[in-house]
């Protein structure tokens, strides 16, 4: 008989629209992070490092990159005879075919998958956070408290608590109440979107609430369990945990990796983060160059100067080019004599020679001021930027652009230049 104590269900179907063009063509969990990784590598590595070897990955929005990245799970040792990683897209049914309409609805539609493994517990994970966490310790806690549901929480500063779902607990860590984005928070324990359910409790809750539109864990399933007076506990996590939901937080989390001893340290021997590495050769730093306070992925060639930056794999940085405070993802080419300041440049972008990015006075973005802010230049994947143009701050470029798109060879701050189908 097939039996797995705990099966993880990783929600990776979301778009993450606040990352702008970075998620135009890929789901947020597949966005590159930290030079060579993708965001989903962190929960997947946590799973295998915690001894969870059965993971269902729920995909929906732009799954191609995610599917090819995960494959059969080789990089995470999740290629197993029994269990391993399974990608679970929505599928047609004889009645009531639908997309995944909510987090819990997605899990509900995959009850058969979980049932195959006769699990005792189900671990629900979000695919878009940067953290290292031992789910086994959380499971110990769950068992020790004889909980039906355990919710991972993290203490946040009281002033920020109103941005989160807040858990109010008693001395035993039992959840007595919770509130979603409260104006006057009664606690600072924010839900991290990580849950352990007893399988039969989850199953019952999902089946009972199946008709609820947009069935969601935070809005429906947890309240339902609470109302039934099921034992809900809060597991307090005090390590590094970052939601990289906005361009600013994404940029900042990347930049934190280049501190001398970063709070989130990728160089620790235990708890490795695994990823699919296609590019193997070492990076080449040429003669007349300068690289300082940066991390750089495999196979990258640096002929220019790089400061305070996170550079992916297989990138080329041309002669006399200066890159500062920027994130450059895999296989992007930056020409000669460029200046790049505080830019996020996605994968496979080609930047011509003598291009200046992130120059001039700051101005609010004209189309999406809440997305493109903090002075960051954002360039979507496979974009082409012609030689000898200058680009201002809070700008976004996506698609193949040519000189005509840059009047006076200049894209002013706050402009959006979107030529690919967004």
């Amino acid at each position: 008989m097939i039996k797995k104590e705990m099966v993880a269900m990783l929600l990776a179907g979301g778009q993450g629209s606040r990352l702008g063009v970075l998620t135009s063509k890929v789901a947020k969990p597949a966005v590159a992070f930290g030079g060579k990784y993708r965001i989903i590598d962190f929960p997947l590595s946590n799973c295998i490092n915690s001894g969870v070897d059965t993971v269902g990955v729920l995909t929906q929005y732009q799954p191609l990159r995610l599917n090819t990245h995960i494959g059969i799970g080789i990089p995470w040792d999740l290629d197993r005879n029994i269990g391993g990683v399974t990608v679970l897209p929505p599928y047609e049914k004889s009645i009531n075919s639908e997309w995944y309409t909510g987090t819990a609805n997605a899990i509900y539609q995959n009850i058969d998958y979980m049932e195959t493994f006769n699990p005792d517990y189900i671990l629900i994970l979000a695919g878009d956070h940067i953290y290292k966490m031992d789910y086994e310790v959380m499971l110990e806690f769950h068992k020790e408290k004889e909980a039906d549901v355990t919710i991972a929480v993290m203490p946040v500063p009281m002033v920020e608590a109103k941005r989160f779902g807040i858990m109010i607990t008693d001395d035993e860590k039992r959840v007595v109440d919770f509130e979603e984005k409260p104006d006057k928070p009664r606690s600072n324990l924010a839900s991290m979107g990580i849950y352990i359910f007893n399988w039969h409790v989850l199953r019952e809750a999902l089946v009972k609430n199946a008709d609820q539109p947009n069935l969601d864990f935070g809005k429906h399933v947890i309240p339902y369990c609470h109302k039934k007076e099921a034992p809900l506990f809060a597991y307090e996590f005090n390590g590094y945990w970052k939601d990289v939901g906005t361009l600013e937080s994404y940029w900042r989390a990347n930049m934190e990796l280049i501190d001398i001893v970063p709070e989130f340290n990728l160089y620790e021997e235990y708890w490795k983060i695994y990823t699919k590495s296609e590019i193997l050769p070492p990076q080449y730093i040429a003669g007349d160059t300068f690289v300082e306070r940066s991390i750089i992925g495999e196979g990258t060639q640096v002929y220019g100067k790089v400061y305070n930056s996170v550079i992916g794999c297989g990138v080329t940085i041309g002669t006399d080019t200066i890159v500062r405070d920027s994130i450059i993802m895999n296989r992007t080419k930056i020409g000669d004599g460029c200046e790049v300041y505080k830019a996020i440049i996605a994968e496979n972008v080609t930047v011509g020679n003598g291009v200046k990015l992130g120059v001039g006075e700051e101005a609010e973005n004209e189309t999406d001021p809440h997305i493109y802010d903090s002075g960051i230049v954002t360039i979507g994947e496979k974009s082409i930027i012609p030689s000898h143009v200058a680009v201002g701050k809070n700008t976004v470029i996506f698609g193949v652009t040519d000189e005509e798109d840059y009047p006076d060879q200049y894209l002013a701050s706050g402009k959006s230049l979107l030529k690919a189908g967004v």
Binding site: Y267, K272, Y284, I285, V291, R293, I295, E298, V306
Partner: protein, 373 residues
């Protein structure tokens, strides 16, 4: 579908590698930051669609066996074929080590006999090169040779006395074959890559075994050069054999050359190796790196010039590394000076050390304990 079995000869020791061979077979020597020498032969076979590969190991094979612990990196983790490692084994009719390359094959002849592929491709595991073996095999078949030997014309200033030296006629049939002659008469060297029919190989190996002859080059190629049709196949691209410390040093330094590194790393097909899951290399304040290869997992604080830094190395503050090769997982304490050296893997160099290769390349093995926080 490729019609050959691959054999990689990876068993040899080489005293000319000095202290570097104490830790590992030459075939497991780290190359170009992220690879080991056997990766080149393995990748070539994989890229030539060879499905079944046998590696013969003997000398100091621990490191090599670890490297080959999974065959999936070279895409040999398959039901059809796959990668097999043969180490010497005591059997009911044999209790010898491999007494030579031919003996290694002889002791495992059952494997060859039970295969069905019509050809066998033999490569030594200590050469750095790229080759499409399909073209080699086509050439071998088209010219109706008994054995085809890949050869390369070395530069006039190259000291070739450590190679097998060939002399070919106008049609590239091999007339003379000398192993490591005192005075070489040509600059045409054997690259240690051969192709022949499987039945032919079995016949030659059985005959040699009966006569207590054990070496593939001496007892088969040289002995039969008159009676068998042995053909040369000229190789014009990069080829380097890791036979001496100087070869090893120069081969690694060749990868600082854009042409060489582009040829191996950025032109189809790729070279594969075991993936190590290390984070990106990190450059801290005051890192000064010039004309160097830096592999992943390394952390650089000091100055590195014209050097190859392998995986997971740590270069301390105010260090000066010049014209050197720093092998995997080396820790170099602050204020150290390292010039024209090869620092052995997993070594710990104390702060304020000074190492310089005065005449020739210095091999640094300090062997200090490392205190990990």
């Amino acid at each position: 579908m490729m019609k050959a079995i691959g054999i990689i000869l990876a068993g040899g020791n080489n005293f000319r590698m000095r202290e570097l061979s104490q830790k590992r077979a030459v075939c497991a020597m780290p190359i170009a930051g992220s690879y080991r020498s056997i990766d080149f032969a393995l990748s070539n076979m994989s890229n030539s669609q060879i499905q079944k590969v046998v590696v013969f190991t003997q000398y100091n094979a621990r490191s090599l066996n670890e490297h080959l612990s999974s065959s999936k990196w070279w895409d040999f983790g398959r039901k059809q074929g796959g990668l097999v490692v043969f180490t010497p084994a005591v059997t009911s009719d044999n209790n010898f080590w491999y007494r030579g390359t031919a003996d290694a094959i002889a002791q495992n002849l059952a494997f060859l006999k039970n295969s069905h592929e019509p050809y066998v491709l033999i490569s030594s595991g200590d050469c750095v090169y790229k080759m499409d073996f399909n073209k080699l095999l086509d050439y071998h078949v088209a010219r109706k040779a008994d054995i085809t030997v890949v050869c390369k014309e070395m530069g006039v200033d190259c000291n070739v006395d450590r190679y097998g030296i060939l002399k070919m006629d106008a049609e590239d049939w091999i007339e003379e074959f000398e192993e490591k002659p005192a005075i070489a008469r040509t600059n045409m060297v054997s690259c240690g890559i051969y192709v022949l029919r499987r039945r032919q190989l079995i016949e030659l190996i059985e005959k040699s075994a009966e006569e207590d002859r054990f070496d593939f080059v001496k007892d088969i190629l040289i002995r039969y050069r008159g009676s068998k049709r042995i053909l040369g196949y000229r190789m014009n691209e990069y080829w380097s054999n890791i036979a001496t410390v100087e070869d090893y040093y120069n081969t690694n330094m060749d990868f600082l050359n854009k042409e060489t590194s582009d040829y191996f790393f950025r032109q189809h097909p790729d070279i594969y190796s075991k993936v190590d899951d290390l984070p990106p290399a990190k450059y801290n304040y005051d890192a000064r790196v010039r004309n160097s290869l830096i592999a992943s997992g390394s952390i650089i604080n000091g100055t590195v010039e014209d050097s190859v830094i392998f995986r997971k190395s740590f270069v301390g503050n105010n260090c000066y590394i010049k014209d050197s090769i720093i092998l995997n997982d080396v820790y170099i304490g602050d204020n150290s000076h390292i010039e024209r050296c090869i620092v052995e893997s997993r070594d710990t160099i104390r702060a304020n050390s000074y190492h310089k290769g005065e005449d020739g390349i210095k091999i640094v093995i300090e062997g200090n304990d490392r205190f990990v926080i």
